[in-house]
Amino acid sequence: MKKLQIWKALARGVILETVRRKDLWVVAILGFLIILSAGALGFFGMKGLESFAKDLAATVLGGMSSVLAIVITSRMMPDEIKNRTLYPLIARPISRFDLLFGKLIGAVAVSWISFAILCALTAVALSIFSVPFEPIMSQYVLARMMGLVVVCSVTLLLSLVMTPSAATTMSFVIIFGSGMITQGLLLAYEGGQTGMQPLFKLINAITPQVGLFDLGSRAANTNWGPVPAWVMGSLALYMVLYSAAMLSLSWVKFRNQAV
């Protein structure tokens, strides 16, 4: 119970800090751009463009929410150290693991809030154009929220092992490039030497599979329908396992770090 209170207090601190730094203004501006783009699209008439509108919405939502999650998480711990606000925190009876976990929950919460705001604005834009709601859209949102947890956990680890700008850059490369890495491995596996195949499997296993959380192509195009429950369950399990691994590595690094 006490742990829950600690994590809640730390997460609340992250959210308040984000509000204080006016980071959510970025979300508002991005949301304004979504509405503006929708207006430009409306100029051409929406007949026949429903799939395109949904596709565009899924792409924009996925891209922007990942960017926000990376930017928010990568600054979190380095800022605490730089501003010396970390000292009063570790002076309290809080373990370093609790500190990291609470911060991660805060980063995930802010990412989810930003994502929810963008989703709401996108939903308004789509409803203006009479694009009907489909159950797969709920699954898209849920899967994307799970994906953001993985994004935050990867970025948290990187922010502890490198400088904030390097962590941000590397996070962008890993998160946005993971799909390309996977495709490259798939092509190389078939055409490559047999001796290299275990290496390809290893690289694939450690690469964060954030692309799996993107149901955008199914949501945007017609007649695909919702994904089975086992798929959502597997995604949730992967999220928990991968994020736990990233958090553990972060803790290993932060546990003995002189601050």
Binding site: F44, G45, K47, G48, L49, S51, F52, D55, A143, T182, Q183, L186, L187, Y189, E190, G191, Q197, F200, K201, N204, Q209, G211, L212, F213, D214, L215, S217, R218, A220, N221, T222, N223, W224, V227, P228, V231, S234, L235, Y238
Partner: protein, 320 residues
């Protein structure tokens, strides 16, 4: 001195230089070069925004292909895969042969048998728009028409947007849509007066759809004249393909009219430019009886289509 004074001067100078930007055009884009060669890079309007427009139109082009496959992402086979004897998925409908060739494309996400990723592969196939595309069919290309309209509006120099958009419009048997296609191509021609691809597609639409040989002759002659204004090596590969196509169609139009002198002149000129072209050679060497004029059936009969896998003059493989 007040701050606003130098700021005003700088703004005024910037405004004056902005008004004179059009004078730079001749230096950036000298006359005598083929305007379709690299319009996106050297045209006077190729500012940052211009390049952005080009990128967006290219992206829309790829999206249009994606919607044909209902969201299933496809890719062309690599050279290595072709050498290893791998075949593409192929398609079961031939309605849009003019749009793309599915004999050398496969899905980006591999089937379970070809995927080493195990559960990750299964999840990828379950969360993405994926299905076995062997002998697949396509969505109605007309669904993508607004995208073609959008890409030509964003980037009027994007020739495939005009030609393929018109090809999609002219599909089916609705005669009104044939005229819509002609209208779209004429609009494209206004923006790209030297585009041989647009002229060739317009000629094809007049012949094969509208059945107006007189108009076809005019535009194909214009394509021929445009080609003659430039050295062949200065014309981009796609436009060269369209020029060859224009020669073939023009020869057939003259054959249809019974203007054999003009027909032979066109074929010889075409062969000078494209030596070894099997279609033109076959037509040139055909016995005269086969080439007899068919004036009396001119209204009903359309010319025999040459071997013409890319009537609209460009390769679509890159869209995958």
């Amino acid at each position: 001195m007040k701050v606003w004074f130098p700021v005003t001067i700088i703004c005024a100078l910037a405004a004056v230089s902005g008004f004179n930007v059009s004078d730079v055009k001749d230096q950036v884009h000298p006359k005598g070069r083929y305007s379709g060669l690299d319009a996106h890079e050297t045209h006077a309007s190729a500012s940052l925004l211009g390049q952005f427009r080009t990128n967006i139109s290219g992206w829309l082009w790829v999206r249009a292909d994606l919607y044909l496959h209902n969201g299933v992402t496809m890719r062309p086979l690599s050279e290595q895969e072709v050498l290893n004897g791998r075949k593409g998925v192929g398609s079961s409908d031939n309605a849009d042969n003019q749009l793309h060739d599915d004999s050398k494309v496969v899905t980006v996400i591999p089937s379970a048998e070809r995927d080493f990723r195990g559960i990750f592969g299964d999840l990828d196939r379950a969360t993405k728009a994926y299905q076995d595309m062997t002998g697949h069919s396509h969505n109605n290309p007309k669904q993508s028409l607004p995208l073609f309209r959008l890409m030509t509006w964003l980037d009027p120099n994007f020739i495939p947007g005009w030609t393929t958009g018109a090809a999609v419009l002219a599909m089916g048997k609705d005669r009104n849509s044939y005229f819509e296609a002609v209208k779209l191509l004429n609009e494209g021609l206004e923006k790209n007066p030297d585009s041989i691809s647009i002229l060739d597609q317009l000629g094809f639409t007049y012949i094969a759809r509208v059945r107006d040989l007189a108009s076809a002759e005019k535009v194909l002659e214009r394509a021929r004249a445009t080609g003659k204004r430039y050295e062949l090596q200065d014309i981009p590969a796609d436009e060269q393909e369209s020029l060859l196509s224009a020669y073939r169609w023009l020869a057939l139009v003259y054959r249809q009219y019974g203007k054999l002198d003009l027909q032979y002149a066109v074929m010889r000129e075409g062969l000078e430019l494209f030596p070894g072209d099997a279609v033109l050679e076959r037509m040139l060497n055909a016995p005269p009886l086969v080439l007899a004029p068919q004036k009396e059936r001119q209204e009903e009969v359309r010319p025999e289509e040459p071997d013409h896998s890319h009537e609209h003059g460009h390769d679509h493989d890159h869209a995958h």
